[in-house]
Amino acid sequence: MSAGEPLLNVTDLHAGYGSLRAVAGITFQVNEGETVALVGRNGAGKTTSLLAIAGLRYGRFPGTVSLGGKDLSSASPRQIVEAGLAHVPEGHRIFRSLSVEENLRLGAYTRRRSGNKAVAAAIERVYNLFPILRKYSTRNAGFLSGGEQQMVALGQALMADPKVLMLDEPTSGLAPMVIRDIYDAISKLRDEGLAILIVEQSIPRALANSSRCYVMERGRIVMSGDSTALAGNEHVFAIVRGTEDVSVAAEQPAV
């Protein structure tokens, strides 16, 4: 793969549920080592987009997704994880009835044949990133706080040794200190060269932690650019707050 080509390439992606089109053709890229943010109102289609890229599609929809040149448009979630793309859905969803360690192990399910040592080493890396989890390794994950559960969720995704990590509102509903811990971890991952796509509710936080940002509204990307440039742009705030009504190019396309 040549240096100029994006790592994650999404072209004209559509997604939805049955006859409801939630994502109406979005195109964006994430380059190697880059952190890209995706912001927008509730219901703009961000979550659906990420789920679709990760392989959870409810229906046949047009659009292409490729990772490192490999076409993943019709790949199963398992194949996508194996290809190096890991998605952490919103709401700190983990296996609450399993222990922290079992949760992390399952994150490495696609690498289970690489041997126990490799898996143990990966778990160690997660504990180094989130030291507090080490204390709870045998605790049932359901008894952890929201922030700790989110750390488990992130750690789980990292166990698969992904090239691109997608995070859907990783800090929603969490205390400021926990938010800081998680973003510290994200910074470390960025320094290690991991490409990250992050959906964030807080625009300033999104812009402060990314190099580029896309704004979604009603299933389409209506704005994009360098994060530093967008930070001074009033329209971004207005769109996400809902006080500015962006006339989307065309209404929802016919199903």
């Binding site: 939805g16 549920y17 049955g18 006859s19 409801l20 089109r21 109102r41 509730n42 219901g43 229906g59 919103e90 709401g91 609450r96 359901g142 008894f143 952890l144 706080s145 929201g146 700790e148 559960q149 509102e169 929603s172 509903g173 969490l174 205390a175 400021p176 509710q201 807080s202 625009i203 300033p204 936080r205 009033e234 705030f237 207005a238 707050r241 809902g242 006080t243 009504d245 209404e251 929802q252 016919a254 199903v255």
Partner: protein, 642 residues
């Protein structure tokens, strides 16, 4: 508009088929052979059909899988046969059916009640076990004739007064009466409760319907009917033995229901008649019957869960006999089939795309806003006290959803509740509604605690709500979705509504009229008779709002009502909220759309991570930067200066 209501708009073609079938049914002995034995077989199948009707009421409409209903049938039959054996002179058809019905009801309750608490397939399995156990016990019990049963023709003094042709006519008539009864039931307030419950227990509770009581009624009615069928069976066959009712019969009936289509009145009858008829009269293949039936049942369960009636409706729609799509259940099913959505009740099928059938535009919105009728509270209006939440706390495992929260909603005001995802807003609503229990604290209206009350009692205390994802009865029309809410207020016994007694008819009519009024005042006059599953998302929200308003509550909890609304709809929503407050309703409004909240609320509470972050007036909120920093991480006021 009458056409839109879909009530009496039936072309003559639709009536022709059922009427023809009924005539054929009455003339069966003349048409296909009428020897005494043959007629007895017809009567046997007809008795079983009544069980099918009973099962359809409980299962098809009420969602209660009392598969082993043949156990109830057997108990009823045995009761009848014993009554005839010991009082041969005094017992006639009516007495037999009454005795059997009572025995059926009692046994139905014994079998069904314990499993009610658990629900789901437990009821199916426990009742199936009973269906298996009762004949097994009877086979050994001499009192009921053991293996050979009790033949009534051997009982001295027993001489049935009705026989031969007149008996056959009466049996057919009884089957038709049972069918008519089930139709009347389904279209009465009792039936409405069934459908609400089958859609979602939360939906039912939110309009004051007690899930437990409704399930109980469903089981009671179907058991009584199945028991009575036992009495009829015994009278016409003059005999009952363990072999007369078995698990096999239960499975055949189930197959008939599934094949015919459980969501209709006629479907199960046709399906059951087909299956039972084939089983009875084409005995040469009896050995392979099970395999054939099994395969057919399997195919239907997987590919045609809505049964034949749905297919027929689609077909008649194509042939032009039925109204156009978007206007009735056929459209709902074709729409569902195209979208590949799951069958009955389990999920809310995907809404139609916003482009089509838009019910509101800015002109009609202006008109609607100008003409909003008064909606002063009726339920819970006995006093003036506010809704008080005190020290509310709730954890889920290790996650604290709410911690020591105080909040008061005064009547006639709008209290806005904002906060990021996961801050505890919806949890609070669910706590008030009674879906979750508090770990700490209290929720009261004045001095009356409601946090200890069951969910349906909260609605009856005067608290209505909407849901984050609208919960509607998708197979019903818009009007039919609102009617159960009004029925909560209109005092009338279930039986009166069912039997169409004067008070019942008046109540039914009033419920419909008031529902239409509310829907029309929200500008929804174009979609009154449209099936809910065909409505776009924004319209569904408005219908759900109409349902909540129709309750005429004292308090209204709105869970992100603006999400997915068009601009016109949003304008109307805001106006309606203001108007309701002016009429004296206390409103708790959860919303992400902060400007909207600031424009209607007199008090705003901001939550963060389950804790209170801010409380005050909208003006105070606008000036406060801590909220903005918690939400958006910026040091600027919440609204742009444009």
């Amino acid at each position: 508009m009458v056409a839109r209501l879909g009530l009496n708009n039936r072309s003559s073609a639709r009536w022709a088929v059922p009427v023809a079938l009924i005539i054929v049914l009455y003339l069966l002995p003349q048409l296909f052979g009428g020897g005494q034995f043959r007629v007895g077989e017809y009567e046997e199948v007809l008795s079983f059909l009544i069980i099918a009707v009973a099962l359809n009421i409980a299962m098809g409409y009420g969602g209660q899988y009392i598969l082993g209903i043949t156990a109830v049938f057997a108990v009823g039959a045995y009761a009848a046969v014993l009554a005839a054996k010991y009082h041969p002179q005094d017992v006639g058809l009516v007495a037999m059916c009454v005795v059997a019905a009572i025995a059926g009801a009692v046994s139905g309750l014994i079998i069904g009640l314990p499993a009610l608490r658990v629900g789901g397939f437990y009821l199916a399995l426990v009742s199936l076990f009973a269906a298996m156990a009762i004949p097994a016990v009877a086979t050994q019990w001499n009192f009921v004739g053991a293996d050979t049963g009790i033949p009534l023709y051997a009982v001295l003094g027993f001489a049935p007064k009705i026989n031969g042709e007149s008996l056959y006519v009466i049996v057919v008539t009884l089957v038709l009466l049972a069918t008519l009864f089930s139709w009347a039931l389904v279209h009465s307030r009792i039936g409405h409760r069934f459908v609400a419950l089958e859609t979602s227990e939360q939906l039912a509770s939110s309009i004051g319907i007690s899930a437990y009581r409704t399930k109980l009624v469903a089981i009671l009615i179907s058991s009584t009917m199945a028991g009575a069928a036992g009495g009829l069976y015994v009278y016409s066959q003059q005999f009952f033995a363990p072999g007369s009712s078995s698990v096999n019969l239960a499975i055949l009936l189930l197959a008939g229901l599934v094949i015919g289509g459980t969501g209709t009145i006629i479907g199960p009858l046709i399906g059951a008649a087909l299956i039972l008829g084939i089983n009875q009269f084409f005995t040469s293949f009896q050995n392979y019957n099970g395999i054939v039936f099994g395969v057919i049942l399997l195919l239907f369960a997987v590919f045609l869960p809505d049964g034949l009636m749905a297919r027929i409706e689609v077909l008649s729609e194509r042939l032009g006999i039925r109204p156009a799509p978007g206007d009735g259940p056929a459209a709902a099913r074709t729409g569902a089939a195209r979208a590949g959505a799951a069958p009955a009740g389990a999920t809310q099928a995907a809404p139609a795309p916003d482009g089509g059938g838009r019910s509101l535009d800015s002109r009609s919105v202006e008109a609607a806003i100008a003409a909003l009728p008064p909606w002063p509270p009726i339920i819970g209006a006995a006093d003036d006290s506010p809704l008080i939440i005190e020290g509310a706390g709730r954890r889920f495992g290790g996650v604290t959803a709410l911690a020591d929260l105080d909040l008061t909603v005064e009547r006639g005001t709008v209290h806005g509740l904002i906060g990021s995802n996961g801050s505890g807003k919806t949890t609070l609503l669910n706590l008030i509604s009674g879906f979750y229990s508090l770990d700490a604290g209290q929720i009261r209206i004045g001095a009356n605690r409601i946090d200890t009350a069951p969910a349906h009692a909260v609605a009856r205390a005067g608290i209505a709500r909407t849901f984050q994802a609208p919960k509607l009865m998708l197979r019903e029309t818009a009007v039919e979705n609102v009617i159960p809410a009004v029925e909560l207020r209109v005092r009338c016994l279930g039986a009166e509504s069912l039997l169409r007694l004067p008070r019942g008819i008046a109540a039914n009519r009033r419920a419909r009229e008031e529902s239409l009024e509310v829907l029309e005042s929200l500008g929804l006059h174009k979609i009154l008779g449209q099936t809910a599953s065909t409505l776009p998302h924004g319209t569904r929200r408005m219908v759900e709002l109409a349902r909540a308003i129709a309750l005429r509550p004292s308090f209204l909890l709105l869970d992100e009502p603006a999400a997915g609304l068009s601009h016109a709809e949003l304008e109307l929503l805001t106006a309606v909220i203001r108007h309701l407050a002016e009429c004296g309703v206390g409103i708790l409004l959860i919303e992400h759309n902060v400007p909207m909240v600031l424009s209607v609320a007199s008090q705003v509470t901001a939550l963060h991570q389950g804790n209170l972050l801010f409380r005050g007036t909208p003006d105070e909120l606008r000036a406060d930067t801590s909220v903005a920093s918690a939400f958006l991480g910026i040091d600027e006021p919440l609204e742009a200066s444009s």
